[in-house]
């Protein structure tokens, strides 16, 4: 199925839609073309309006980071305070803690969870029995559709002080562990639940890339005496290397996103010191405490770093693959 989709796409790339009789229209003036498409522009009115209200207006709302928000005066009327919020922010121990937690969690996630979908995709690619492969895929995609709220509930039940895992450990002669309230376990619970939720789903993109590999390459490798590992290392992996590069660059660019949803649903006040990240801190400051200006400043700090990293990643991708991340 993936092959079909891919080849469809290749067709799209290879053969831009012929304009047929419309070709003549290109010769018409801009005004005539715009008149011809006036209904299409009408279609775009609600779309553009939506983007202005729900995407671009919040971008303008960023000015709040440089203002002293007062409910009475609104966003526009509030007084400018320059970089005061940022200054205050960098002096807060809580913010510094959130910043380092964000980096630590992101880097550990990159090291431990990034390679897993690639390994599993290779494994799926090596499977000969189609029905078995399909059943496995159906099962491992399933967790992706469960929200972190539900997953948090599932984990708390499984790891509860008197839940199945703790009971199992006691029956094997171990001690009960307060998984959810002891800081040292947090990162592993987080990473394992992320593997549970996303690793299977993450194989899709790699499996799709692998299904596009020309089988003649494998035959040629066999003639040259390549065994299974040789084929994996010399053909499968190099063929999907561009995909891996892009995914890796995207992950690096998203290093400031340590994941609001999973952490919000797994952490609690007792383990803030290891689990509080920039996003959760911004939420508590901005929404729970109602310091909108401060919350906006934290958000802006993060988005600027993200944006710069993304531009950098795009630049690197262009250098390596000759293609930007987003085609």
């Amino acid at each position: 199925m993936e092959k079909e989709v891919l080849s469809q796409n290749e067709q799209n790339v290879a053969m831009p839609r012929s304009d047929g009789p419309e070709q003549g229209i290109k010769k018409y003036s801009l005004k005539k073309r715009m008149l011809r498409y006036y209904q299409v522009y009408i279609m775009l009115i609600p779309v553009v309006a939506w983007f202005i209200v729900f995407c671009y207006a919040p971008m303008y709302g960023i000015v709040l980071a440089f203002k002293d928000y007062s409910f009475r005066k609104g966003i526009l009327g509030s007084e400018w305070v320059g970089l005061a919020h940022f200054k205050e922010l960098f002096e807060q121990a809580m913010f510094t803690r959130a910043f380092w937690n964000t980096l630590r969690i992101s880097v550990l996630r990159l090291i431990f969870t990034f390679p897993i979908p690639i390994i599993m995709a290779v494994q799926l690619n090596e499977m000969v029995n189609k029905h078995y492969k399909k059943s496995i895929q159906t099962i491992i995609y399933l967790p992706y559709f469960i929200s972190w709220l539900v997953l948090g509930g599932l984990i708390k039940q499984i790891l509860g002080s008197y839940g199945p895992i703790n009971n199992l450990m006691v029956s094997m002669g171990g001690e009960r562990i307060a998984f959810m309230t002891e800081g040292k376990y947090f990162i592993w619970i987080l990473l394992i639940s992320e593997v549970w939720k996303g690793a299977g789903w993450g194989t899709i993109i790699y499996v799709a890339a692998m299904s596009g590999i020309n089988p003649e390459l494998y035959e040629a490798a066999e003639i040259d005496g390549c065994k299974r590992w040789g084929k994996i290392i010399r053909i499968t992996l190099p063929s999907v290397a561009p995909t891996i590069t892009v995914m890796l660059l995207l992950s690096i660019a998203g290093i400031m996103n340590a994941g609001f949803d999973p952490i919000f649903n797994l952490y609690n006040t007792l383990i803030y010191d290891v689990s509080d990240i920039i996003d959760t801190y911004a939420y508590r400051i901005g929404i729970s405490d109602g310091k909108f200006d401060m919350g906006t400043a934290i958000g802006l700090f993060k988005s600027v770093i993200n944006f710069v990293l993304l531009l950098g990643a795009n630049f690197v991708a262009k250098k390596i693959n000759g293609n930007s991340i987003y085609g």
């Binding site: 199925m1 993936e2 989709v5 469809q8 839609r17 073309r33 209904q39 279609m43 775009l44 609600p46 779309v47 553009v48 939506w50 983007f51 729900f54 671009y56 207006a57 919040p58 971008m59 303008y60 709302g61 960023i62 494994q123 090596e126 000969v128 496995i136 099962i139 491992i140 995609y141 399933l142 967790p143 559709f145 469960i146 929200s147 709220l149 539900v150 997953l151 948090g152 839940g163 009971n167 009960r176 307060a178 309230t181 549970w196 690793a199 299977g200 899709i204 993109i205 066999e222 003639i223 007792l270 911004a282 901005g286 909108f292 906006t296 958000g299 944006f307 993304l310 987003y326 085609g327």
Partner: protein, 324 residues
């Protein structure tokens, strides 16, 4: 399957040998046998590892379903997996008796359903113009849409806008605040545009010749012909609305209009205490089971539509990723 693979392997090897000596042929045959054995071991280990991961994926689901039918004693005495020796529907009847779960279920169902329709219409309106290669200003519009994938205002400004529009309140209208601010996104537009591009140009042309306007062409010809794309977007949004708990938490200020996720959140919220604590008293008889039952109720619809969802999501992800 395995045999076929071996035959291929053998023939590929034989092709490589132009004029084999008899002794070499024998050697080759032996190595082929060895190869076959190695292949089998690899196949089994590989299959077993994936099966293990699949079991790991299924474990929480199985556990929660079993817990929902278990008594509290079954939970406390569980060993790696909760086995409902004292099988009971108590948790479910309790969940339905308090009424908030069924009501939340209904609200979430309506929000997801209406949300999917609004999504499909809005995303189509955005995607169709982008298929017109000679539309003046197309590049600007594309950039205008795609830029939002890279940069956003952040949580607080977005919240303030939604609040400023009056969606954050205690009335019924807060439910519209769950749909409207989230009915478009650049990723869905790109996916649907790629689906729309597969509609043959000739269809659109003949419709134009028959005097159909652009709206009629979109709704009567392009959308039905790109049905799998429409279904993909609809399912994307159904799953998104069904699972959303964060924005409902901020927007819906009245427990009367709580969605299923919000009710579930309330049920799951427990005070935290350090250490393992003492075993809970029997009076908490139904806590674990009723939480489990609430979880099962809230994921059941997703599990039911999952077979469709999986097929379309996979296709959609690939379409969106390959040609972004």
């Amino acid at each position: 399957m395995n045999e076929n693979y071996l035959v291929e392997e053998v023939s590929a090897c034989e092709e490589s040998v132009t004029e084999p000596l008899v002794s070499e042929l024998r050697k080759k045959k032996k190595s082929k046998l060895q190869k076959a054995r190695e292949g089998k071991v690899f196949k089994w280990v590989n299959g077993a590892l994936m099966a293990l991961f699949a079991l790991f994926c299924l474990y929480p689901f199985v556990n929660v379903v079993l817990t929902s039918f278990a008594s509290f004693g079954d939970y406390v005495n569980s060993n790696g997996l909760v086995i409902p020796y004292h099988f009971t529907f108590g948790a479910y009847s309790y969940m339905f008796s308090i009424g908030r779960i069924p009501k939340g279920f209904l609200i979430t169902f309506c929000v997801s359903f209406i949300g999917a329709i609004v999504n499909v219409v809005m995303v189509s309106l955005a995607a169709y113009p982008l298929t017109k290669s000679d539309l003046p200003g197309k590049k600007i519009i594309s950039f205008f849409i795609v830029f939002t994938m890279f940069f956003g205002g952040g949580l607080i400004p977005q919240y303030l806008i939604i609040r400023g529009l009056g969606f954050v309140n205690k009335n019924f209208s807060s439910l519209f605040g769950l749909v409207l601010p989230f009915c478009l996104n650049a990723f869905n537009i790109i996916i649907l545009r790629n689906f729309f591009r597969t509609v043959p140009e000739s269809v659109i042309e003949s419709a134009e010749i028959d005097g159909a306007g652009e709206f009629r062409i979109l709704f009567q010809f392009v959308m039905p012909l790109a049905m799998s794309g429409i279904v993909t977007i609809a399912l994307f949004s159904v799953v998104g609305y069904w699972n959303d708990w964060f924005w409902p938490m901020l927007i819906v200020r009245n427990t009367e209009y709580y969605t299923l996720a919000l009710v579930l959140r309330e049920l799951l919220a427990q005070p935290v205490q350090p250490g393992v604590g003492s075993p809970p008293p029997d009076s908490q008889l139904l806590t674990e089971a009723s939480e489990a039952a609430a979880i099962v109720i809230s994921i059941l619809p997703l599990i039911i539509i999952y077979p469709f969802v999986q097929k379309f999501f996979e296709k959609g992800i690939i379409l969106g990723a390959v040609k972004g």
